[in-house]
Symmetry: C2
């Protein structure tokens, strides 16, 4: 199998936000997608080894902020490669509530809030399927694609569902 072929599957770059008992967290995800449209459903695949997995599973809610094509690499690295367990990596970030769910606004062109309705075991990852509670366009910016991020020498954390080739950086444990 040529795992590089799997990189041909197009995806975007997102901040997935969540909170539990007043502690908030965010991670960078590229595997966010719409599953149904009549009553919109979205899915996000998250490694069982990262902190956000526990927070989303226990709280039952998550948000997705679509990163703008001009989102700085440092911002992505900060949320994508540091863990939120020991310290609050979201300190100082701009947030809002959408249907009661914390949403991260920095460098986002659109966002949505979702209520988890199903957890699907995908071996190393869990696919969280959420009913979209609300969705908003924030700017008229263009969404950052995973391809553009990689073309800009962005690395893929070991915990990403699309970790198919050698990483440029060691890990991400959001």
């Amino acid at each position: 199998m040529d795992k590089k072929a799997l990189l041909s599957l197009s995806c975007g770059m997102y901040v997935v936000g969540c909170s539990l008992n007043g502690k908030r967290n965010a991670l960078i995800a590229n595997t966010v997608f719409q599953l149904a449209s009549k009553q919109p459903l979205v899915g996000v695949s998250i490694s069982k080894d990262v902190f956000s997995h526990e927070v989303i599973a226990k709280s039952g809610y998550f948000s997705v902020s679509v990163l703008d094509s001009d989102a700085p690499m440092d911002f992505i690295k900060r949320l994508g490669f540091d863990s939120g367990i020991a310290s609050d990596k979201t300190l100082g970030l701009c947030t809002a509530e959408l249907s009661g769910v914390i949403v991260f606004l920095d460098h986002a062109c659109a966002c949505l809030a979702a209520k988890v309705i199903k957890l699907v075991d995908c071996q190393t990852h869990t696919l969280f399927i959420g009913e979209v509670l609300d969705a908003k366009l924030l700017t008229d910016g263009k969404a950052l694609t995973y391809t553009a991020y990689r073309d800009n020498k962005g690395a893929t954390p070991r915990f990403s569902p699309t970790f198919n080739v050698e990483p440029l950086q060691p890990l991400g444990k959001g």
Copy 2:
């Protein structure tokens, strides 16, 4: 809810292939994504109302061909807006077998074959989760994105999981 915000979720354009008892079928999908990487898993969300749904559910296998950025609109329309129930819309198309699964090669830059390991009910759609049996790069072409397709006035069939706004064409029942 502003459903247009959901269009900010990046996706690609794919031919999903399948066959049952010698009858083959293909449809255009944009909701194909990788869910896990160690043993690669992919998901594809397909309307319960289209013919391919029945074929994939009964056969337990599907293929994904990643459309190249120069794939002609007529080709996409043919596979995306006609149904394969009454006639064979794949007649004359170039195919191959990958791990025993039929794969459509026209205008594809990469492909994969998958065995269904889980069906997840998503109301109007079923998410088929497949273990990737094999994956191949076919050309060094760039993958067509859903955004580029729409920018080229490509329509979204009513049965798509991302049918969030008015269609330019009435339906697709692949």
